[in-house]
Point group: C2
Chain length 213, copies 2
Amino acid sequence: MKTLIIIGHPDKENSHAQQFLIESLQHFENVTTHDIAKDYDVEEDRAKLKEADRIILQFPIYWYSCPSIVKEWIDKVWEMTCQLKGKELGLSITLGVSNRHFQAGGREKYTISEMLRPFEMLANHFEMTYLPPFCMYQFDYAKDEIRKRWLIDYQQYVSAEQPLHFKQKGEWLIEQLEKLNTNGKFTTLMEAIVQQNEQLTDIIEELEMIRNG
Amino acid sequence: MKTLIIIGHPDKENSHAQQFLIESLQHFENVTTHDIAKDYDVEEDRAKLKEADRIILQFPIYWYSCPSIVKEWIDKVWEMTCQLKGKELGLSITLGVSNRHFQAGGREKYTISEMLRPFEMLANHFEMTYLPPFCMYQFDYAKDEIRKRWLIDYQQYVSAEQPLHFKQKGEWLIEQLEKLNTNGKFTTLMEAIVQQNEQLTDIIEELEMIRNG
């Protein structure tokens, strides 16, 4: 599976969140990034979209939507005749405010899902599969443990098959550890995960048998 | 009441819909237009916003949102410290597809209200009153009678107090006719509308009496 990440940040170099995300992509061969804030070519980008299986738009939320550079890129590159059917559209977004404001009764009144409806409608138009967005809230204030969680979630978002169930998460983790396990440092950890996953498979099969009587 | 219409069309001169709307504004003294596709000054525009009572963003829908020039203008001009509380935010939009696609079960799946949520959230953020959008669908194919309806609706959208009930619509119409009635041409029509409005007032009062026993 080939993933194309469109990075649309007007000031990427000074964004800790963007640096964090981009650095976490180092070991993923089938993931390419394309920074549209610098420069882009409409025809080349249409070819890039055509080649990708998963297209991820990555940007900070400015006034409840993408920055204008992202919209400009969409308006110029995405045309009616683009063949994107069956591809996945993901959003990797960063927000300056807390998640809790985005709900009925909350300060922003609507959910992130509702706010991002225009992107879902875009995916719908091209018969693409819309992935649940990957969101980081108030990155600069987030604790290390939350950042670690985001790191794994993001790496899975760009590289693992979706939807991602518990068992697939385990398999994905083993795959990543295998890449890093050149000196056998992670062997014990990997064995533990494999064992856990096998137990899970057993439980699932047993449940299936009970269901079928 | 002062209305400011922000026109954000990348090619206004070649848009019949935009020409139609702009021409229909000739007799409205308290309505000013500002074409941001040409050029704008951030500080001047903040002053314009401050002075207006009703701010209307007018643009064609491109991929389920505003064109990038409008988003760029919002991102640059609208800042956290803008004092817009109590003002009205309206949207005057044109769409290339039919209204019927925008509903659950329809091709676009979601309504215009849902699609425009980011603008509603913007109004909400600044404690502005969000007006129901004024929408024209497939202008180039619309019949004359529909265009006439749009003309009146648009003129009311930019100049009449909202929300606009039947009685207010009648009063607004008389006001407009008075401006044009320099040679007495519309006197009979005006008298008919006045009479109709008086009858309506009587019915409303009667209803009120019945309700209160």
